[in-house]
């Protein structure tokens, strides 16, 4: 699955935003990162998600995993969902 780093950061404030470190941490969490690339100024991580973790087949799911790993708070789901709904109607560049 492709993960946008900026999208993750809407839900959780990551202690590191270095793609390399993030890829390494995700790999050791059981989510091997096949590639980390940059496109249009966005960092995209290509993450393998094993079939026992369908809860992580979403940006919020990955954010939850990383929040637990780094010990940082995550935006409550209701708030996050509301934020998403708002940004959906706004032009993409605002996100």
């Amino acid at each position: 699955m492709k993960i946008l780093l900026s999208w993750l950061q809407e839900f959780v404030s990551l202690s590191t935003s270095a793609p390399r470190q993030l890829a390494e941490d995700l790999t050791m969490l059981g989510f091997p990162v096949d590639a980390a690339l940059t496109q249009d100024g966005e960092t995209i991580l290509e993450v393998d998600i094993t079939t026992n973790r369908p809860d992580c087949l979403s940006h919020y799911g990955m954010a939850r995993e990383l929040a637990a790993f780094y010990g940082v708070p995550i935006k409550p789901f209701g708030e996050a969902a509301a934020g998403q709904a708002a940004s959906m109607s706004a032009p993409r560049s605002k996100r």
Partner: protein
Amino acid sequence: MDSADLPPSDITEAVQHTLEELGIHDTPRLQELFSQLANQLQKDMAQLAETGAGEPEKLEALRVRWLGRKQGVIRSINDNWLRSASPELKREIGQLLNALREEAERQILVVKRAEGIPMTPAPVTVTPAPVTARWSIPEPTVFVTGALDITLPGTRRAVGVRHILRRVMDEITEIFFSLGYSVEEGPDIESVYYNFEALNIPEDHPARDDQDTFYIDSRTVLRTHTSSVQIRTMEKLQPPLRIIVPGKAYRRDTPDATHSPMFHQVEGLAVDTHITFADLKGTLDYFLKAFFGPEVRTRFRPSFFPFTEPSAEVDISCLFCGARGCRICKQSGWIELMGCGMVDPALYPHVHYEASRYSGFAFGMGVERLAMLKYGVQDIQLFFQGDVRFLRQFR
């Protein structure tokens, strides 16, 4: 009967009798007899030169008379004189006979060369006398032909080598033998039950997709992993259990440098009371150090397989860059090598083990992958093309 009284033309008659019958018991008389034979040979050759020059049949007749395999003079001396002679005379006769035969062969060869008659292509072998006395030395085989250059070196028969994959599998099993494991095997054509169902892979699991599996019919597949042998073995044997399963597995992959529809795996399974993940780590760390060398480091990463819980992938530190990061390890310093985990307790009811009493670990590795890393092979297809130039590098 006295040989000295025989007319010279009758000397070839004399070889039909034994020395006993001819009354010859000492060396001088024997030498006289051979010199008469030599004279007769000269006479025959002279006669041939006068009357039969240029006629291959006459030369052939002469050859048969002297060197013929059945009734030739040389053969007759061998049969009639040499065999029954006393040990003291035997050596003498042998030497004189050899000299006479060489002379006859030489003379005939000279005529043949002179007349341009083709040489006998096959080497002519004169059967040596049977060895009866301890001191007698077997006569050497004599080759007489101009077409054969006996100084040429012989053709060495090509000797094959064990296939590299077989060798790597043997290396792997050898290491596990030293840890007390034994080898189990199972069929390549496997029922869906052993390949999927009993391994906790439900009907709707993506691994069952026809995209990945060769189905023979709806209940039969070519096994997609050697893990099916785990179930077969546990049905058969009670714990404690330590087995490895080398074998072939099949998946519907398009062949490329790292994929082949047929490949090899070595599967491992240990079930006993009190087996922990620490045992698994220790076992695989020992194995990988034994296989790749003591400087290799291992890393276990969480993963998922339906038949193990928890599951892990095993990485080794990159062999090529010493974990500094290179093209082969994709800059990570680690190379993904195999899968493993603790046997999922959901498997035990299938084989009637007490899930509360036993625990175990399992692991599986791709033989081609190990071989490629260890021997620096770049393309998996090379293993299956049967190119001797490739295969013979691994002796």
